[in-house]
C-alpha cells in the first residue's frame, strides 16, 4: 500500500529523514512516535507530498510519489490527512467543508456530495452541526469534522499528524474513539501520536523515530514491554512518567 525505499530528506544541513525503509500494508495500522523534531511529521507529510523527499522512492499503491502534478492529485485523492491544527476552512460551513473535496476533486454531484457529507458527519457523531461554522465548534468537534472531511473522499489510507495534541484533555477521548472506530472498520492508518493507550489498542506496528531514523519498530506488545533500543526506553519512560 505505502512503501518507503531508502528515503532521505534534508532541510538545509539538517538530515530530517535518514534512510527510511518502511512498508504499510493494506488494512495495517502504524503508529509513529518519537521525540520532538525527530522527523515524524516530515515522514508522513512526504507520503502525500506536502513535503518532497530528495532521495529514494516512496510508492503509494504502486504509484511513485514524484513531481508529476496529475499523479500527485490522484495520490492525494486516495489519502486522507488529519492535522494537529484541524485546518478546517473557516469561511465555509461544516457541510461545505465536507462537500468541497468530493465535488471539486472527485466530480461527485451536489446531491451525492450532500448525502455523503451527512453520512460521515453521522459517523463522527455530530450530524446536528452541519450548518455551523468551524469557529462555532469545540476543538474536539472541529477535529471530528476534519476526520469526516477526509473520509468524504473515501480514501484508501488515513494519515494523522498528532490529531489530539492541540486538544483540551477532556476532548481527546472523543477524537480517539472516532479513530478507534475507523481502525475497527479496517481503515489503513498511519498515525503520529503519543497516545500510547491508543497505540496499544489499535496498532499493528509501532515505529520509533529519532534524529531522522527509524530506530525501532515492532508489534505494540513487544515494543512497549521490551524495547531493545536505549533511546526508545528513555522515551517511553518519559511518556509514561508524564
Amino acid at each position: 500500500m505505502i512503501e518507503f525505499r531508502e528515503v532521505h530528506k534534508w532541510f538545509g544541513d539538517l538530515h530530517v529523514l535518514n534512510d527510511i525503509n518502511l512498508k504499510v500494508h493494506h488494512g495495517e495500522r502504524v503508529v509513529v512516535c518519537g521525540p520532538s523534531g525527530s522527523g515524524k511529521s516530515t515522514l508522513i507529510r512526504c507520503i502525500n507530498r506536502l513535503e518532497q523527499h530528495e532521495r529514494g522512492e516512496i510508492l503509494v499503491d504502486g504509484t511513485a510519489v514524484s513531481d508529476s502534478r496529475q499523479a500527485m492529485l490522484d495520490v492525494r485523492r486516495d489519502i486522507g490527512m488529519v492535522f494537529q491544527q484541524f485546518n478546517l476552512f473557516p469561511h465555509m460551513s461544516v457541510l461545505e467543508n465536507l462537500k468541497l473535496g468530493p465535488i471539486r476533486a472527485l466530480g461527485v454531484s451536489q446531491d451525492d456530495a450532500t448525502s455523503r457529507a451527512r453520512k460521515y458527519l453521522e459517523r463522527v457523531k455530530i450530524p446536528e452541526q452541519a450548518d455551523k461554522l468551524p469557529a462555532q465548534l469545540s476543538g474536539g468537534q472541529q477535529q471530528r469534522v476534519a476526520i469526516a472531511r477526509s473520509l468524504c473522499m473515501e480514501p484508501k489510507v488515513m494519515l494523522f499528524d498528532e490529531p489530539t495534541s492541540a486538544l483540551d484533555p477532556e476532548m481527546i477521548s472523543e477524537v480517539l474513539d472516532t479513530m478507534i472506530e475507523l481502525a475497527d472498520e479496517g481503515m489503513t492508518m498511519v498515525c503520529v501520536t503519543h497516545e500510547m493507550g491508543f497505540a496499544k489498542r489499535v496498532a499493528d506496528n509501532v515505529i520509533f523515530m529519532d534524529e531522522g531514523r527509524i530506530v525501532e519498530s515492532g508489534a505494540p506488545a513487544e515494543f512497549f514491554d521490551n524495547p531493545r533500543n536505549e533511546r526508545t526506553r528513555e522515551f517511553l519512560e518519559k511518556i509514561i512518567a508524564h
Binding site: L50, R77, Q85, F86, N87, L88, H91, Q142, E195, I240
Partner: protein, 265 residues
C-alpha cells in the same frame, strides 16, 4: 462615536456656509447661493463635474481591480521568473507619480501610437495602471496572510491549484483585504482630480473654470471640498456595508488551537 464624527463633519461646513451668507467683505457666498439665479447657475455648473468624476472613478477602479487581480496571480505564482515579472510591474507602476503617468499617456503615448487619445481615456489608462500595482500588492498580502495549513488542507483533499485558490485561499484573502481595498477606492476617487490637468471636465476642472471667471476661490473651493466629502462618505458607507455582508460569516480564522499540549498516557 462614528456617527457623531460624521454629524460634525457635515454640520461644520454648513455653519461656515450660513455664516458666509451674511456677506462680509471677505465672503461672497452669492456665487453659489441657491436662492439667487446666478448662484443656481453656478452650482449647476460645478455639479456638472460630478458625473465625470464618478464615471472616471468607476472606470479606473473597475479596470484597476481587474488588472490588479490578474497581476496579483503572477505575484503568488510558484514560478520564479513570473514572480520577477510581477515585482517589476508593481515597482514601475507604483513609483511613477500619478500625475506624471497621466501626462505621459496623454501627451506621450499618442506620439508612439500616431493617434490622439481623448483626455478621459488617457486618465483612465494612467490611473488604473497606477492603482493596479497597489491592488495587486494588497491582494498578494492577503493571500500570504492565509495560514499555511489552509493550503495544505486544500492540497490534502486533492484540489487542483486553481480550485485551491478559487475556493479556499482567495475567499479568505479577499475578505481580509477589504479594508485596504476600500481605502484604495477612496484614494482613486480623490486621484481622479488629477485628470483636471488634461481637461477632463470633472469637479476640479469645473471649480477652476468658475473660479477664474468669478474671482471667488474661497467659496468655490469650499464647495469643491464639500463635493468630495459627500462622494467619499458615500463610498466609505458602501464599502463598510460590503465588508459587513462578506465578513458576517467568518468569525475568526479557524484552526482553533486550544493551547494545552498535554500528552496523556
Amino acid at each position: 462615536m462614528k456617527n457623531r464624527l460624521y454629524c460634525f463633519l457635515i454640520v461644520l461646513p454648513v455653519c461656515l456656509v450660513l455664516a458666509g451668507c451674511a456677506n462680509s467683505d471677505k465672503m461672497g457666498w452669492y456665487v453659489i447661493n441657491p436662492m439667487l439665479k446666478k448662484g443656481r447657475i453656478n452650482i449647476e455648473f460645478l455639479l456638472s463635474g460630478v458625473g465625470w468624476t464618478i464615471a472616471l472613478t468607476l472606470a479606473c477602479v473597475t479596470l484597476a481591480f481587474i488588472i490588479g487581480f490578474a497581476v496579483s496571480l503572477a505575484g503568488i505564482s510558484e514560478s520564479r521568473p513570473v514572480n520577477w515579472a510581477y515585482r517589476i510591474y508593481v515597482e514601475i507602476f507604483r513609483s511613477i507619480p500619478p500625475l506624471v503617468s497621466i501626462l505621459w499617456v496623454y501627451y506621450g503615448l499618442p506620439v508612439l501610437m500616431g493617434a490622439d487619445l481623448n483626455p478621459f481615456v488617457s486618465a483612465t489608462i494612467a490611473l488604473s495602471l497606477y492603482g493596479s500595482g497597489f491592488i495587486a500588492e494588497i491582494l498578494r498580502g492577503g493571500v500570504q496572510s492565509v495560514a499555511r495549513g489552509q493550503f495544505e488542507a486544500a492540497d490534502s483533499i486533492g484540489l487542483t491549484r486553481f480550485d485551491k485558490l478559487r475556493y479556499v485561499v482567495l475567499p479568505q484573502a479577499i475578505r481580509r483585504s477589504l479594508p485596504a481595498l476600500g481605502n484604495q477606492v477612496v484614494i482613486m476617487l480623490k486621484m481622479s482630480s488629477l485628470a483636471a490637468f488634461i481637461g477632463v471636465a470633472e469637479v476640479v476642472r469645473r471649480a477652476n473654470e468658475l473660479s477664474v471667471t468669478e474671482y471667488r476661490p474661497l467659496e468655490i473651493y469650499t464647495f469643491l471640498v464639500l463635493e468630495y466629502l459627500v462622494l467619499v462618505l458615500v463610498v466609505s458607507w458602501g464599502i463598510r456595508r460590503l465588508e459587513k455582508r462578506l465578513g458576517a460569516d467568518e468569525r475568526h480564522a479557524g484552526g482553533g488551537s486550544t493551547g494545552s499540549h498535554g500528552q496523556t498516557q
